[in-house]
């Protein structure tokens, strides 16, 4: 997969991170990607069939754009919904 990305899109991958969860430091949450201006998300089909999945992502930025890198070289913007994760629903407010 790393080779494929390098050949097709010219992206060299040094480190793979399986999640972009925020971490806690001095009672404050931060994201390791907050200081960087961009990151790549690779979504693998979990099955061998034609498959649809609703992808949910936590963003380290407040203002961002999501583009899909296609094999033909184009990178169209992806329309996305904002949502609140269910863990917040029951928090005592």
């Amino acid at each position: 997969m790393q080779k494929e990305l390098e050949q097709q899109h010219g992206i060299k991958i040094n480190k793979l991170d399986s999640g972009i969860l925020s971490r806690e430091k001095d009672d404050k949450f931060y994201s390791p990607y907050g200081e960087k201006s961009e990151f790549i998300v690779i979504v693998q089909n979990p099955t061998d069939q034609v498959h649809q999945e609703l992808l949910e992502l936590e963003m380290p930025y407040s203002d961002f754009e999501v583009r899909r890198l296609k094999a033909d070289g184009t990178s169209p913007l992806v329309a996305h919904d904002l949502f609140k994760p269910t863990v917040f629903f029951n928090s005592a407010k």
């Binding site: 998300v41 999945e53 930025y61 269910t86």
Partner: protein, 342 residues
């Protein structure tokens, strides 16, 4: 930190088994303009993502995604549970009969499949069975033994909110209960405790309606030391052990005919009839636990009067039963908490 969560559908074809997305931070207000202009040759999505916050649901508000519709029909007063079976008189005191009348606000929805035109109204509520707390032969980790066999409303609907996105929409139902802080004057001294939150989701890529039910801590008493069965029987309802089930009640004269289908081993569906066994004659008792079956991947009921079928697929194996409340419901055990163990 003001965190943002986004969701979008990913569609995998046969020749593409992975997708690559680049998420870029927008630096300032000036730069992205030139960026979008430069890329305007590619199909640019100029739509703005909608507010992630839930807004109060309006009466008749309908979510429409992928050939499915879910309409909010408002709050109604929950029906009183009626005794449809021959009760063992030993447990059915007048006090319990009164408690059965305990109802509260519940919310009604209508599901519609636009392809087939099939509609079904339903009510989803958290309910509980009072546990029969006793050493050795009571309710506990090992055995499910309810005291009366009649489930009561666990908490009533506080508010219903809705959120509509481009690809999916949700109704968020918050159930809460008033808990007395003062025994002598509970009417004026109580706090509202959020007990259950349920998100009902429709999305354009899923064939199902998704229920995400989150239960808060189940309230029970805080007793120290070993207590007797007689001691627990004197306690108030709120302080005794509870077995919480999530109940889906189907309206429009739905009749299960006392039948249900389930799969206990995850392989094939088995049919069961309430209060009946193939090997011997079952005497109806208060112990509804004998009608609860392990639901590994699905529980099904069918309407006697029409060709409707309702299938509920839990995301983990749960204990479930159907038709115990007037032959028109499905219930799945979600959580249990007791003062003592069997």
């Amino acid at each position: 930190m003001n965190k943002k969560y986004i969701s979008f559908p990913v569609r995998f074809d046969l020749d593409e088994d992975r997708h690559v997305y680049i998420i870029k931070k927008k630096e300032s207000t000036d730069k992205p303009k030139s960026l979008t202009q430069a890329n305007s040759a590619v199909d640019v999505d100029t739509s703005v993502a909608k507010d992630p916050n839930f807004l109060p649901a309006s009466l008749g508000q309908t979510l429409k995604y992928g050939g499915k519709e879910l309409k909010y029909l408002g709050l109604v007063q929950g029906e009183k549970t009626s005794i449809s079976r021959t009760q063992t008189a030993s447990n059915l005191t007048s006090e319990i009969e009164e408690e059965m009348g305990q109802t509260g606000a519940v919310c009604k929805f209508e599901y519609k499949d636009t392809v087939t035109g099939l509609t079904q109204k339903f009510i989803m509520t958290p309910r509980y069975y009072q546990s029969a707390e006793a050493k050795d032969d009571g309710d506990g980790l090992y055995e499910f033994r309810p005291l009366t066999g009649i489930s009561k409303l666990y908490s009533q609907v506080d508010k219903v909110e809705a959120k509509e996105g481009d690809h999916s929409g949700q109704f968020l139902i918050t159930f809460q209960q008033k808990e007395a802080t003062n025994d002598t004057d509970p009417e004026n001294n109580h706090v509202a405790v959020r007990r259950v939150v349920a998100a009902v989701e429709l999305s354009e890529i899923s064939d199902f309606m998704k229920f995400e039910v989150t239960l808060n801590e189940i309230p029970i008493g805080n007793y120290k030391g070993e207590k007797s069965k007689a001691f627990f029987q004197k306690q108030k309802d709120a302080e005794r052990g509870k077995d919480i089930v999530i109940d889906w009640e189907f309206l429009d004269n739905f009749d299960t005919d006392s039948k249900l289908w389930y799969n206990s081993n995850g392989l094939d569906m088995h049919q069961k009839k309430l209060w009946s066994r193939k090997d011997y004659q079952v005497v109806e008792t208060d112990n509804v636990a004998s009608n609860f079956y392990p639901v590994t991947s699905a529980i099904v009921i069918r309407d006697k009067n029409s060709n409707k079928q309702v299938t509920i697929m839990p995301d983990r194996p749960q204990s479930g039963s159907a038709g115990l409340r007037g032959n028109k419901n499905i219930e799945l055990m979600q959580n249990r908490r007791h003062n003592i163990n069997d």
